[in-house]
């Protein structure tokens, strides 16, 4: 695929990079990335991937924009409250870059739809906000053989890792199974500094771009842990676990299952806020 004059100009700062060039930009334009979740993590990832000229961006989310989302979910504006998140995010991506084919999946990821949707993408970004979904993304990517970027945020901290199924350590190597519902510090009700979503979501977009370009070292076999209060990153190396429930020689997780319904430990507007 050759670039048009307009594309040469639009992507000139990419093309100047020897590791990208016109060839790399063509790879991005041919790339297909699925964002599971168009919230805190998915918003910045979607905007930067659209700006970068990733040719196909799938946006999957079954929710509508809520006023309390706007503190961190920067693809959505005040005028979007009540609008489907997939539509809101897609409109911003298209406004940034009409080269991008945005595909909408206005549904929640489930065991029944995951593999069918994942099969059309090269790389997956987990921007979900609860453990049932995070484990489902991890498991679906394992079974579909799709590389993906995990991230999670909570309060002033974030974490991220990139998993290449069959090659690198995976989410379950580290975290095994969803925490008991009684523990539940999953969702944003525990509070999160909004910028955390931007930092970690942008790291996820970076990994997607590197993967599509085939450059650099992916965030694999390590968990990157970010602490905003200390303003420090820690790179925790880990190995594929020989007892991993899904990627070891003797897995106990052999089919895709829906987890417990997402719960925030919240009732009547009051939430169990976990402490370390």
């Amino acid at each position: 695929m050759s670039l048009t004059d307009e594309q040469m100009e639009r992507y000139s700062r990419h093309i100047l990079l020897p590791q990208v060039g016109g060839k790399g930009q063509a790879k991005l334009l041919a790339g297909r990335v699925l964002l599971v979740g168009a919230g805190g993590l998915g918003s910045p990832a979607a905007l930067y991937l659209a700006a970068a000229g990733v040719g196909t961006i799938g946006i999957m989310d079954g929710d509508v924009v809520d006023l309390s989302n706007l503190q961190r979910q920067i693809a959505h504006t005040t005028a979007d409250v009540g609008r489907a998140k997939v539509e809101s995010a897609a409109a911003k991506c298209r406004a940034i870059n009409s080269d991008v084919n945005v595909r909408l999946h206005p549904v929640r990821l489930q065991a029944g739809n995951a593999l069918e949707i994942l099969k059309d993408y090269d790389f997956v970004i987990d921007g979900t906000d609860n453990f049932a979904s995070k484990f489902l993304v991890a498991d679906a990517c394992h079974f579909a053989g799709k590389p993906y970027s995990h991230a999670g945020i909570l309060r002033f901290e974030g974490q991220a890792m990139t998993v290449i199924p069959g090659q690198t350590g995976c989410y379950r190597c580290l975290f095994r199974e969803p925490p008991p519902p009684s523990a539940i510090p999953s969702c944003s009700q525990a509070g999160v500094l909004g910028v955390l979503a931007g930092i970690m979501g942008t790291i996820q977009a970076t990994e997607a771009l590197k993967y599509l370009l085939g450059i650099g070292d992916l965030l694999s076999n390590r968990l990157l842990v970010f602490d905003a209060l200390k303003m420090s990153f820690r790179d925790v190396k880990f190995q594929r676990s020989p007892t991993c429930p899904i990627c070891s020689a003797n897995p106990t997780v052999t089919t895709l299952q829906d987890g417990e319904p997402p719960s925030c430990g919240c009732a009547n507007g009051k939430c169990a806020v976990p402490e370390k």
Partner: protein, 67 residues
């Protein structure tokens, strides 16, 4: 004795297992942490039988479900 916890040298009593370490370090929600010792991720059922030695390197890796 001294061990490293998340890259920080830390003085702990001798003879602790992982459950004891989580208590001693005042980890209030031990269900929300994965533990790696010297580069090996422990299964939760191994927490009780894993005794810490001087100079061990321990990582507490927290579950983060937000997005």
């Amino acid at each position: 004795m001294q061990i490293k916890i998340n890259d920080t040298l830390t003085e702990i009593p001798d003879g602790l297992n992982i459950i004891g370490l989580l208590t001693q370090q005042k980890v209030k929600m031990p269900d929300m942490v994965s533990v790696q010792v010297n580069g090996v991720i422990l299964e939760r059922k191994a927490f009780a039988e894993t005794l810490l030695k001087a100079n061990d390197s321990v990582d507490f890796l927290y579950f983060m479900g937000g997005g």
